[in-house]
């Protein structure tokens, strides 16, 4: 049953060095505040799982939190490369990063299998690609038709972390808009943290909403603005300028570290981070 606790406490209690951790959110509701807290608490040797690594994993990787990445598309959407991810893969900086890469469809099937507590998921794919040699994919034969179908390993993280719009006081969570694999990652993980924009007295039903009952979640932590630079549908827009700016900030190791020091390590939480960022936006570095 979900406990409502501060994010610092949720991360301290629930995420251990060496854990398999998935921070999900498909372009929407990316749990940046939770990512920052992992960096502040200096988690190490994490296996990070995420379909679209994005800026949040660029930061975690660049700060040396990860030893392995399981992913399907690792770019800065609409902008270009993730420089810290590339630096880790191309030059082992700050640490070597093992990769397990899938296609989106394969990884989505793996998350669905994880939520269903199946050991693997099925996808008609991988055949004929070089990816098949480089990733964890197996093959099973259909007992009825003899067809060969690709099997992808079920994704069952130690900790699943997502961001949502709302929770009620009992810890039930509601999110809406593009919902990605958030339901799957919460249901498929051993422990889960959901950061939310706000706690409200009642969760009114809405179109295209996903509800996660309190009894499927370990911790709910308020983190208003916690998806920035991603967005929270109905709360704030995507900070497209930040994604463009990140290309510059992250290109250089020192500049990246300075930025992280100032904006993440030196801030206590998402509120301080957002305040600092608002200053930065009026006078860009």
């Amino acid at each position: 049953m979900a406990e409502i606790v501060p994010l610092t406490e949720a991360v301290r209690e629930l995420v251990r060095d060496g854990d398999v951790v998935a921070l999900e959110g498909f372009t929407h509701l990316i749990p940046h505040a939770a990512g920052h807290e992992l960096i502040r608490q200096q988690r190490r040797e994490l296996t990070l799982v995420r379909m679209t690594p994005d800026v949040v994993y660029d930061q975690l990787i660049g700060m040396g939190c990860a030893s392995k990445l399981i992913f399907s598309w690792g770019g800065n959407p609409g902008v270009g490369s993730l420089h810290r991810l590339r630096d880790a893969v191309e030059h082992d900086w700050p640490l070597p990063l093992a990769l397990e890469e899938h296609s989106h469809a394969g990884m989505a099937a793996g998350y669905a299998a994880g939520a269903a507590k199946l050991p693997f998921g099925l996808v008609r794919g991988y055949e004929g690609t070089d990816l098949a040699e480089r990733t964890r994919v197996g093959w099973v034969t259909c007992p009825f038709t003899g067809a060969r179908v690709a099997a992808v390993p079920s994704i069952r993280p130690d900790v699943g972390i997502v961001h949502a719009q709302r929770a009620d006081e009992a810890g039930n969570v509601q999110l809406w808009g593009i919902s990605g694999v958030q339901k799957e990652v919460v249901l498929g993980s051993s422990r889960s943290i959901v950061t939310v924009e706000e706690i409200v007295p009642e969760l009114e039903p809405r179109p295209d909403a996903v509800l996660l009952p309190a009894w499927t979640i370990t911790a709910v932590s308020p983190a208003p603005g916690g998806a920035h630079p991603s967005y929270a549908h109905g709360y704030y827009d995507r900070d497209n300028a930040f994604y463009v700016a990140w290309d510059e900030i992250s290109r250089d190791r020192d500049r990246f570290r300075d930025w992280m020091q100032r904006h993440v390590l030196a801030t206590a939480d998402v509120t301080e981070y957002r305040r600092l960022l608002a200053e930065w936006e009026t006078s860009p570095v």
Binding site: M51, F71, G78, H104, A112, V123, V181, D208
Partner: protein
């Protein structure tokens, strides 16, 4: 490139050339950048009933402006339905409901196979690219796949550094694979029989030799090579209403 002082950019021409190939009512699976531009241009001009599906789960999205990311809020707001990511891939894409999928890549070979994974060796990459994303399944499961890619010897290669996506499915059947490659010089299509990509259309003021020079394999040219009509003012106007002229686009 021999095109001088065009009244339109190469990106605009590519978007127009791809948009024209979409019939009204076509169900499209689009990524960000040029594909989204092309499909939305088609919707704004000759094909108002084109259905746009984004891999973020937005079905029937009708954005007024082009999204910068496949998960932009406007996609969800204007969509007929928003479904989960596992569902969009399993039921809708693998389910066989998509007519045309769009792809970009870092490299393409003569068979339409694509690399979006690495330049150089996988274990010691010269450039680590973003990876597969939805590309392998888009090419496998859509009725047709359109590739949009600037044509240079570095991108149109004799041999891929990594085969991320199988493009070559003969260009026919229920899932035909890559059926056209729209470049900044013209259009390539699989030759009947061999399925090898050959030049079938050229933009105004571009020559077949320009295209040959920009290709890392010996490019065959169709006997009935056509010339693409330049963008009409209606097309350009519609396109510019969708995209700020100075906007950066990096696929996907």
């Amino acid at each position: 490139m021999t095109v001088e002082a065009p009244a339109y950019t190469a990106d605009e021409l590519m978007a127009v050339a791809a948009a024209r190939r979409l019939r009204d009512g076509t169900v499209c699976f689009v990524g960000i950048g040029l594909p989204s531009r092309a499909a939305n241009l088609a919707r704004a001009t000759h094909a108002p009933n084109c259905v746009l599906i984004y891999e973020s789960g937005a079905i029937g999205a009708k954005p007024r402006h082009l999204p910068l990311s496949i998960g932009d809020g406007e996609l969800a707001e204007t969509a007929d339905a928003v479904v989960s990511v596992p569902e969009i891939f399993a039921y809708w894409l693998q389910g066989g409901w998509i007519d045309v999928g769009f792809l970009g890549a870092a490299q393409i070979d003569r068979h339409g196979n694509l690399n979006s994974t690495v330049i150089g060796d996988y274990d010691k990459p010269k450039v680590r690219l973003p990876g597969a994303g939805g590309a392998p399944e888009i090419a496998s499961w859509c009725r047709e796949t359109f590739v949009m890619l600037r044509q240079t010897p570095r991108t149109f290669v004799d041999r891929l550094d990594f085969l991320t996506t199988v493009g070559h499915r003969g260009g026919h059947g229920a899932a035909a694979g890559v059926t056209c490659v729209v470049t900044d010089l013209g259009v390539l299509e699989p030759a009947p029989g061999t399925g090898e990509l050959r030049l079938t259309e050229l933009y105004p003021d571009v020559t077949a030799d320009d295209a040959r020079e920009a290709t890392g394999w010996e490019l065959h040219v169709a006997d009935d090579l056509k010339t693409v009509a330049p963008p009409s003012s209606e097309e350009l106007e519609a396109l510019r209403a969708l995209v700020p002229a100075n906007e950066e686009t990096v696929a996907p």
